[in-house]
């Protein structure tokens, strides 16, 4: 993790347990450990890819950072200042530096609002502008994301999926945030459109210096856009490294298995897949020690007892695995 002035986003031991209520009186019968103590940081103009399979807590992590849900424990710092525990109104004022792009461009736009008003909404929240100034800004944003001016007064249903996601990106960009949390921004789109939107995000990062927390399950997409990648499994980050280092030499068995599942567009290469046995355990009763030990081909006694901590196994390459204990030393 680069020690710049102060990272745009810094997350420390972020935890979220959802209580499971049962019965008439709402007795708490247990907890879903959705996010279990994750830590990372994102620097200026940097993209951190957060990958993991469905239900591993990556979207919950995104919502926690956006403060759409309150964390159970841990710290979230936005440009060095803590935002966890802030009240609704104080948090509202800080939202200017952090915006969001959700997965489904169909449900993330109010069907009753015109494109212009959708993009203008954050502007109106934070800046006292005249209507004419808003018009200019919105038209600029439309140009930035590759939409036409004659589409300003259309309704969301008059746009295609890719165009809608451009609209969502324009809204996120409107107040010039330092960080945009992208929660699976392309997984609802066609592959050809995915590439356009990904490249748009990369272009916008170059132009405006915005940082992305890019949550996804598609490794190819993550490899293309990210500078660093964090791999999540059952609420924990198991590996965090620069893109090249991670894809060239994964240090955690789970990452290894994930990468082996990526299809290679070359028929002469015989795939050597690592097929994991069993299912992801329940986050209500996660396994002891290392969460991955139930499915890990290399698991040994220590994995069942002791939770592995993140260690720097290679320069700027962190993994939470007992196998790597002492490997770097």
């Amino acid at each position: 993790m680069k020690a710049s002035v102060s990272p745009v986003l810094e997350v420390k031991d972020l935890t979220k347990d959802f209580p499971i209520k049962k019965g008439l009186l709402g007795r708490t019968a247990g907890h879903v450990h959705a996010v279990d103590g994750i830590s990372f940081s994102i620097g200026e103009s940097e993209t951190l890819g957060l990958v993991g399979e469905s239900g591993c807590g990556k979207s919950t992590a995104g919502k926690l950072i956006l403060k759409l849900i309150e964390p159970t424990a841990g710290e979230i710092r936005l440009s060095g200042q803590r935002i966890d525990g802030l009240g609704y109104e104080t948090m509202r004022a800080r939202r200017r530096t952090m915006q969001v792009v959700f997965q489904d461009p169909y449900s993330s736009l109010n069907p009753r609002m015109r494109a212009r008003d959708i993009v203008a909404e954050p502007l109106r929240n934070f800046e006292a502008l005249l209507e004419s100034e808003i018009d200019t800004r919105v038209a600029e944003l439309f140009e930035n994301v590759g939409l036409r001016r004659d589409q300003l007064s259309r309704f969301p249903h008059e746009f295609s999926g890719g165009q809608r996601q451009r609209l969502v990106i324009a809204r996120a960009l409107a107040v010039r945030p330092k960080l945009i949390v992208c929660d699976e921004p392309v997984s609802a789109l066609d592959v050809s459109v995915q590439a356009q939107v990904i490249n748009l995000l990369i272009d916008l990062q170059r132009e405006f210096g915005v940082a992305y927390l890019f949550i996804a399950h598609d490794l190819a997409v993550v490899e293309h856009i990210s500078h660093r990648v964090a791999v999540m499994y059952l609420g924990r980050i198991v590996e965090l490294a620069g893109k090249e280092s991670l894809f060239a030499g994964p240090q955690h068995p789970y990452t290894e298995a994930l990468l082996s599942a990526v299809p290679v567009p070359d028929p002469t290469i015989k795939p050597s897949r690592i097929i994991l046995q069993g299912d992801v355990p329940s986050p209500i009763k996660p396994p002891s020690g290392c969460h991955f030990h139930t499915r890990c081909p290399y698991a040994f006694e220590r994995c069942r007892v002791e939770r592995p901590v993140m260690r720097e196994t290679k320069p700027d390459h962190f993994a939470a695995c007992h196998l790597r204990d002492g490997a770097a030393a």
Binding site: L66, R92, V100, F102, S107, L109, N110, E121, N125, A174
Partner: protein, 306 residues
């Protein structure tokens, strides 16, 4: 059926331009009022019936009626005739005039209750959907109110005051609004989870603005549908209240009152009860048709939710 040897006409036309026969007739796009009536027959029929009834109530004095309260003791319980179109009751009052004027009470009560109950339910439902700690308290109170049959609750409330149209409206509205509150709350809870509402929160929109911009416009449709059902139910409740003497004072002609007057003579003079009952049925049918049509037009999936 004989097989006629018709000359093959096909090749000549196929060589040049493909002259394809119209297998499907072109879809005729209907516009204007006919198009609307074609697409939403229930709204059109129910709405037309309701408009007729409203016009009838407004222009009651011009429809060949006499004063509905004039007594004519010498002409009691006359059968329908040229003088008394719907007959006369046991005090010699013209039933036709009473039924026409009675529409005013039913329609006013129906609409007023629908509006009042919708507004009260909207406010309570919004509070319940947004203020999490208040939700369980408010909803338990609403559940408690809903466990009492609306008519019983209305009768109990009427027992506290004297009979008048505003009091009837208030009593029925109180009995009906918990249903609206529950509906609005459920819609609010669904909408709050919508990504566009979360996106609005994340982009720093204040809560009152979120309600006004993102929540309210989307509650209007189900609320309107629910309001029509409440309107129909309120009309019936009003008639029942009048019928059992707990509603509108007997001096005011309302359908329930007329039926109450004719109750004792039902077996010998059925027309006294028949005409107000028919009008009540038609009015409730019209409102329910309109409601069903609106529901289908607004959202076909709503049928399951209500």
């Amino acid at each position: 059926m004989t097989v006629t040897a018709s000359p093959p006409v096909e090749p000549a036309s196929r060589v040049g331009e493909p002259d394809l026969p119209d297998i499907l007739p072109p879809v005729k796009e209907r516009r204007g009022i006919t198009g609307f009536a074609y697409r939403y027959p229930a709204i059109a029929i129910g709405g037309a019936m309701l408009i007729l009834l409203i016009l009838m109530a407004i222009f009651a004095p011009l429809l060949g009626t006499t004063d509905p309260t004039t007594l004519a003791p010498s002409k009691r319980t006359r059968a329908p005739s040229a003088e008394y179109w719907f007959g006369s009751d046991m005090m010699g009052r013209d039933i036709y005039s009473r039924v026409i004027y009675g529409a005013r009470v039913s329609l006013i009560v129906g609409f007023a209750v629908a509006i009042l109950a919708s507004l009260a339910g909207l406010v309570v439902g919004l509070v319940s959907g947004f203020v999490r700690w208040a939700d369980s308290i408010i909803m338990r109170i609403m559940d408690g109110m809903m466990s009492i049959p609306p008519i019983l609750l209305a009768v109990a409330l009427m027992a506290l005051t004297r009979g008048s149209v505003p009091n009837v409206i208030a009593a029925i509205a109180v009995a009906e609004f918990p249903r609206v509150a529950r509906l609005v709350r459920s819609v609010v809870l669904t909408l709050r989870e919508q990504p566009y509402v979360e996106a609005a929160v994340a982009s720093g929109t204040r809560t009152p603005m979120i309600i006004a911009r993102h929540i309210l416009p989307n509650t209007i449709a189900p609320l309107t549908v629910q309001a029509t059902y409440i309107c129909a139910s309120a009309m019936i409740t009003e008639s029942i209240l009048s019928f059992i003497g707990a509603g509108t004072p007997p001096i005011i002609p309302s359908w329930g009152n007329i039926m109450a007057d004719g109750r004792a003579l039902w077996q010998v003079k059925p027309f006294i009860v028949f005409f107000p009952a028919i009008f009540l049925s038609i009015t409730v049918l019209a409102v329910n048709l309109l409601g069903d049509g609106l529901r289908d037009a607004v959202d076909p999936r709503m049928a399951k939710r209500l």
